[in-house]
């Protein structure tokens, strides 16, 4: 899908995710779109953002996008390289990460994430890769940004498995579990941006990407989607954002 002025929905999604990363933030990055977004942010408004990859690379500054979480370009450009037990214990669990980027196969209205199974756990219809670092990224980062493609099979009424807790049953569920991170603050799809209601924590459409109507988003959402009264339109990717992103993705 290519918009009139030349950017794709995936590029819009990546650019929106990049904008969600503040400068100087310490960011736990997964491979794929999160890595593209974080590296785009470093080249735009967030030159001093710190990128941490779960393979043990702290402050990685890759010149090209890594194709896996453990590419040599990450350790070659990192401020520090450490073992995997330490990255999870001292750095993630130690509460040092401001922003965690997560992908998802499915989310529900409270931004709980499933990346484990479609169908029953014992006899799954589709067996997905599983948790990886996500459950503790979701629990321990200051804030979480989720990216996934919109659709009624990905934004669903009920997920089959909670791999990573978002806002649980909503409200103060995270506080009751004494989780230290604030949980998902932003869900970025190829259609728009959803954010949890401050009270109920139910995801609410707060921005649509250019050319998308709120009704289009609701039609692609598996629950009765709330829409913010002051719905924004996401600024489209700037020429600079687009050219830097494309150069990155080479």
């Amino acid at each position: 899908m290519t918009a009139a002025n030349g950017w794709t929905a995936d590029e819009m999604m990546t650019v929106a995710a990049a904008r969600a990363l503040p400068d100087r933030a310490v960011c736990f990055v997964g491979i794929g779109l999160p890595s593209s977004a974080a590296n785009l942010a470093r080249r735009m408004h967030a030159p001093d953002a710190v990128l941490i990859y779960e393979s043990g690379c702290i402050g990685a500054k890759p010149g090209t996008l890594p194709s896996s979480i453990g590419d040599g370009v990450l350790s070659d450009t990192a401020d520090a390289v450490i073992g995997v037990p330490e990255i999870f214990a001292y750095w993630l669990q130690g509460g040092r990460i401001d922003v965690g980027f997560l992908g998802a196969a499915q989310i529900d209205r409270f931004a709980n994430i499933n990346t484990t199974v479609i169908g029953g756990y014992q006899a799954p219809k589709v067996r997905l890769p599983g948790a990886g670092g996500a459950p503790e990224i979701a629990a321990n980062c200051g804030e979480v940004v989720i990216t996934l493609r919109h659709g009624r099979r990905s934004l669903v009424e009920e997920i089959d498995f909670i791999t990573s807790l978002g806002h649980g049953d909503g409200g103060d569920h995270r506080e009751r579990l004494r989780l230290r991170g604030r949980g998902p603050g932003t869900v970025i799809t190829d259609l728009g941006v959803l954010q949890p209601d401050p009270e109920t924590k139910e995801l609410t459409l707060t921005s649509v990407h250019p050319g998308v109507e709120a009704a289009d988003v609701a039609a692609e959402t598996g629950w009765d989607l709330r829409v913010a009264p002051d719905l924004d339109v996401t600024p489209p990717p700037s020429d600079e954002e687009l050219s830097v992103l494309r150069e990155l993705q080479g």
């Binding site: 040599g72 669990q93 909670i162």
Partner: protein, 270 residues
């Protein structure tokens, strides 16, 4: 004290049917060579352990080596699913695969506890997730000082731990560097260990995140240049991303996989 040995000899000596085996590596330094040798030797009923079972575990599972998988992320990195793993879990082909599933943080802590000689490890993890409902190796534990509840996980202590590394010296000490994953923990927590290396050197140089495993923590050192292919050995090779991509159509189809398996067993391809 480690012995230099041929890989076939080392696998025959240290990997037996029914063993718990870890061929570890976090993208980097995965001993595909050892995994393929285990397939060639026809090992059965293995419990395979790894944080990130990838293509070599897909191959071992498809070949029928495994009865159980202990893991935290089972995908083909950057490509998609592990179809032999999925076929085993979804359809029981070539045999059913029992799973013991964790998060990375939990499995890393299980490795740490294993290396540290503790029966269990502790983490802030799994709260509110379904993993805690399905995985028997997660238990609540209370802090004796604050009362706070955390998660306990049992130590990992495989029968055999297998890694790839860049170098051995002539005394059989091993050095690896760059992304080190849980390579050290895998060797230290396992009852027996095999390390495949790129080369033998007179002495080691300081390296970024250099990890040295003394000879007396290792059973067999096997010189297998390129033994990590299609994964890589930092400063020796690049990751062969094409191999990972090419695995997808092979693994999607049982016949294509069996053709690959026949060729690999005959030493035609790896």
């Amino acid at each position: 004290m480690s012995r230099f040995a041929g890989l076939a000899e080392a696998v025959a000596a240290h990997v037996g049917d029914g063993d718990t085996v870890a061929v570890e590596g976090f993208t980097h330094l995965i001993s595909f060579a050892a995994g393929h040798e285990i397939i060639r030797q026809g090992r059965r009923d293995l419990t395979l352990v790894r944080m990130t079972p990838d293509v070599v575990y897909d191959q071992m599972i498809g070949a029928g080596c495994a009865r159980k998988l202990v893991f935290s992320w089972g995908g083909n990195p950057g490509v998609g699913s592990l179809h032999r793993f999925r076929d085993a879990v979804e359809n029981g082909w070539p045999r059913p695969l029992e799973i013991d599933e964790h998060s990375h943080a939990g499995l890393a802590e299980r490795w740490r506890a294993g290396a540290a000689g503790l029966p269990f490890g502790v983490l802030r993890g799994y709260s509110g997730t379904s993993l805690a409902d399905h995985t028997l190796t997660i238990a609540p534990i209370a802090c004796p000082f604050t009362g706070e509840e955390l998660a306990a996980v049992p130590a990992l202590n495989p029968d055999v731990g297998i890694i790839h590394a860049q170098q051995a010296d002539r005394a059989g000490n091993v050095m690896l560097w760059g992304i080190s994953g849980v390579q050290k923990e895998c060797v230290l927590s396992s009852r027996r260990s095999i390390v495949t290396v790129e080369e033998v050197v007179d002495s080691f140089e300081p390296r970024v995140n250099g990890v040295v495993l003394p000879s007396w923590t290792i059973d067999a050192v096997c010189v297998v240049p390129g033994g990590a292919h299609p994964s890589y050995a930092h400063d020796f090779s690049e990751r062969d991303n094409d191999y990972y991509a090419a695995w997808d159509p092979i693994s999607r189809d049982r016949r294509a996989f069996e053709a690959w398996l026949g060729g690999m067993r005959d030493g035609v391809a790896a």
